[in-house]
Symmetry: D2
């Protein structure tokens, strides 16, 4: 039985707790959260205990930690957990500062521990099937990637202030999808953005709508379009054009009901937001983490992927702010 | 904590065991199966014990039974469980003989216990959403129902011999869907059938393809078409025409990948068979069973629904065999 | 240059006039209609002349006639045109009385003239492509056909009185589709119907909703469901299940716009009614008629097809009226 | 009766000839082409005469000209036709040189004649319906536009040499779509490109794959992705995200057949190329041209639109060549 400590009892913490609990041979032992009531409730639900970070990391029975606490705690917890020899699963981003993220990666490397970053989209059934078919050569060589990534609504401005900006907060997932799908790196990044949904977004120095173009080292082209607001829900699509065809990943819908009336022929809107759309993905990534630990095989989304995605987010932020094309090493 | 005894450790028994195990406040206590090894394996997986029917039914801590054993055991187990005062969840059909099924329903009534029949389709997210929207009046009064129900491949002939024939074995689900969706009863039934997939089906006095028409008491029309073989997988669709529009329930697909190549634009085939397609439905029906027990509210698919569906299957069988329209009381 | 006389300057006559006018090497010479003003207007539009039936049939330059006048004139005009040695294109049905229709077929045969019946659905791009792929063996042997055929709204009761009933008026097209797609004949027909859209339909001894089942000589099954009213427009679909898959013919839409809003994700309703949906089919059938005349090859929808469809309509009417299964020779 | 002279008897000339011939009150009088045989054949087909440009422009009966000859003749013919007081319909582009294009626009203005540029996409049923619904406010204010524009295969390298490059040859349509749909102008343009389909494209100084981003004056964002090769055919889609939803324009398909087999569930590929996809649009734009002439109302795609699209193509070419963001006045 592998004991696990979970940091963070909020929205994503609850998801992870449920998925950890369902893993055979794994036990959720500790829940750690600055909000004691939240920690207690979640711990009680899964037969775990509330603990401090110190205590949890000091317990030798704890072989792995799941970090779902706020972004500003990630780097510190990764570093400490690595030092304590724990296997680490951490929500993205590693840190908002790429320097600190690199230090974390170094710490993980030195400690020789496993550190998986929660880029759950790679585990989405549709996205993963597309990737598999791409790798199998179904559409030949990939040439172009178009990513559409839109949230149903913007978070509160208070959140935005501490978010690191839309490129680090929201597009970091899309940058990881780009790297994963094309198996390529950016040569140049161009990003532009606009405040279109709420002027308040602009007052905190951020944008809510972006258009990013990446020219890769192998000469491929990728375009990402994002918005903080899609009236019809969470829009998560991408398509890859290859030399022999195209693969498209469409949205998931709650049901397959079609209604034909005098007004129109309609179907369900996409799954509302990430908790619904990526429910299967969150379960699959956690299963992958523990399966990789058990088998001693590498995790599919390492801390290096976390650092690389952050480098792209930084480059995009610079491109947008300085209105110029940014070249990457 | 409510203790549960599960009869049957086969394919469907495993599904039910997993769903029972996930219910909060419910514990899988006993697994009963003529195949001792299967019972042991399933019991071990969920921390339950292997038992005899007698022992399980004699244990007062057991408040509910789940019957997923072979069809010929249903009536006996329902009767005994009812006599023992247990709440009952039983897979369809109640029995292949409508007389025995009615006796079971009587026994359940006398005992005053809850008895839910596993018509899981009513709990399918797509089907249930369609029903809800129909009841909400989205398409006015329902007038016509068209049901398409096709299996990916026929079961072995040995199975067919004991199945009661295609109308009782396969269409019983469609007859229940008909009653549920139209909230109406059959005035006349016409059924015809053919052996088109494998001559062996005919040698055991059955057919593999059927076309059924029901004229309801309120003058509505329903058509059901079924086949034991659809090369593209499990095809489970229906549509309702109403005075103000149509609602269609489409197939579920494993992923939302679309591939465009020189050959065609293609998407996934439907979920392969019932275990995949109705995975969510099996979980939802079990959750409903225990929620109804906890709340003391009626179950949505009672033993009476089981009897009524069987009466339709009998009428269809007669119509097909005797080549005539059958009137129902 | 082949001169053509057109009988009927109404809705369908106008369609045929336009299509005749577009045929190279063909000239619309005469328009004949009891409504003189309608005839004049249509003739003027295409540089033709108004004439009487006698004059048009007596003109040796007229090599072909197109009959789009009211149903009760068809048999007489076919007989006279055949006697005059003209090639004939006639709208369905040949006649409401199968005896008269057979006499017409005899007259055509004796005269040795071409007589094509306007079963335009066989020329619809979607239906024709499906048939071609079926014949090419894409889904193996056909086993089952499901036809959905719904009008956007019922015609006036005055029309219904003289229509011959829904099976002869509306389903005759579906019966022809059945024969064409399965390339098979009916062994038995069962039909039932109901008055669900407007009680006035019942007062003239007709129904507005029907469910028909055909068991073919080769043991295949076909189901047809029809309604005089679909709130969402003209619904013209069918699907064929074969031993190796299924082919479905879907509705045509005016545009490929998809709208995603807070309410739903919607697309266009089907083309509104037959003039829109079968616009391409009407052009293609007329092109086929003149191409067959030019090449001396048989037409694809002969007067025999017209008679056979009528026989099915008669059988269905009898089945519905007498509440019994009807066997066909 | 309005007489028309057609310049160009090639692929697009034939399309225009057919559409001119179908216009009531319009007569195709002259066909002019350097290839005499082609001119003769096309003239004969429509009862027109072969002529020289001089003769055609000198004939006062000729009230309008349709220019479908090679790009390098457009500016000269527009200028001469304007001087001769003819109404002008000219294929895109006005000229490959924006200076000459502006001179043409000046000449048209001075002459006070109508000059419509053949941006047929604005007349496509799907695109036009989307625009109409956008203007009607169905999705609120437009914020983002994503255009996908891919050809089924690259033209010969000989063609590419004289084409002006992909941005002027291919994307000029997309730039016009951008201006039309967003009703906005570009503030900055960023374009990048790559040679991915055939190295020969690179040898003539062109690219075959491009990614363009436009930031508009009103702060909206547009992304265009194009390729000279899509294995699955002509891909012509765009989508507009607005404050209250999204409108998508999808591809047109030849038929609505769906095939479900053991391999997949598939539908038709998109219409193969522009002649098929935009057949209705070519007819509609010509009808619009003559309707506008008859009514004295402005044409929807003026020579100014031609100049503006060319300015965007120039800016994109510069951005790609000089690897920089280009600001527009």
């Amino acid at each position: 039985m592998m004991d696990v400590a979970l940091f963070g009892a909020g929205r994503i913490g609850k998801i992870h707790a449920g998925n950890v609990a369902r893993e055979p041979g794994v036990r959720l032992r500790y829940v750690i959260d600055v909000d004691g009531a939240a920690a207690s409730a979640l711990a009680a639900q899964h037969g775990a205990q509330v603990a401090t970070a110190e205590a949890a990391l000091a317990d030798n029975a704890v072989r792995a930690v799941v970090i779902g606490s706020s972004t500003d705690t990630h780097a510190d917890l990764i570093t400490r957990a690595a030092a304590a020899g724990k296997a680490i699963f951490c929500e993205k981003p590693v840190d908002l500062d790429v320097g600190r993220a690199r230090e974390c990666a170094e710490a993980v490397k030195r400690a020789g521990v496993v550190c998986m970053i929660g880029f759950q989209r790679r585990f989405d059934p549709t996205f993963a099937a597309l990737k598999e078919r791409l790798v199998a050569g179904e559409i030949g060589d990939p040439e172009m990637l178009v990513v559409t990534s839109r949230d149903p609504g913007a978070p509160p401005v208070e959140y935005l202030k501490r978010s690191g900006g839309i490129f680090r907060d929201m597009l970091i997932h899309d940058f990881d999808v780009f790297r994963w799908i094309l198996d390529d790196d950016a040569a140049t990044v161009y990003a532009t953005g606009s405040v279109l949904t709420d002027p308040a977004v602009g007052t905190v120095g951020d944008v809510d709508s972006t258009a990013v173009t990446i020219h890769t080292r192998r000469g491929r082209l990728a375009q990402i379009n994002t918005s903080r607001r899609a009236a019809y829900g969470y829009d998560q699509r991408f398509e890859v054009l290859g030399s022999r065809g195209m693969l498209q990943a469409g949205n998931h819908k709650p049901t397959e009901v079609v209604a034909a009336t005098a007004a129109s022929v309609s179907q369900d809107k996409p799954e509302h937001f990430f908790l619904e759309r990526y429910r299967a993905a969150y379960a699959a990534e956690m299963a992958h983490f523990f399966a990789a630990l058990a088998a001693g095989t590498p995790v599919r989304t390492s801390i290096c992927d976390g650092v690389k995605a952050l480098e792209l987010a930084d480059a995009a932020t610079t491109s947008w702010r300085e209105k110029r094309i940014v070249e990457l090493g």
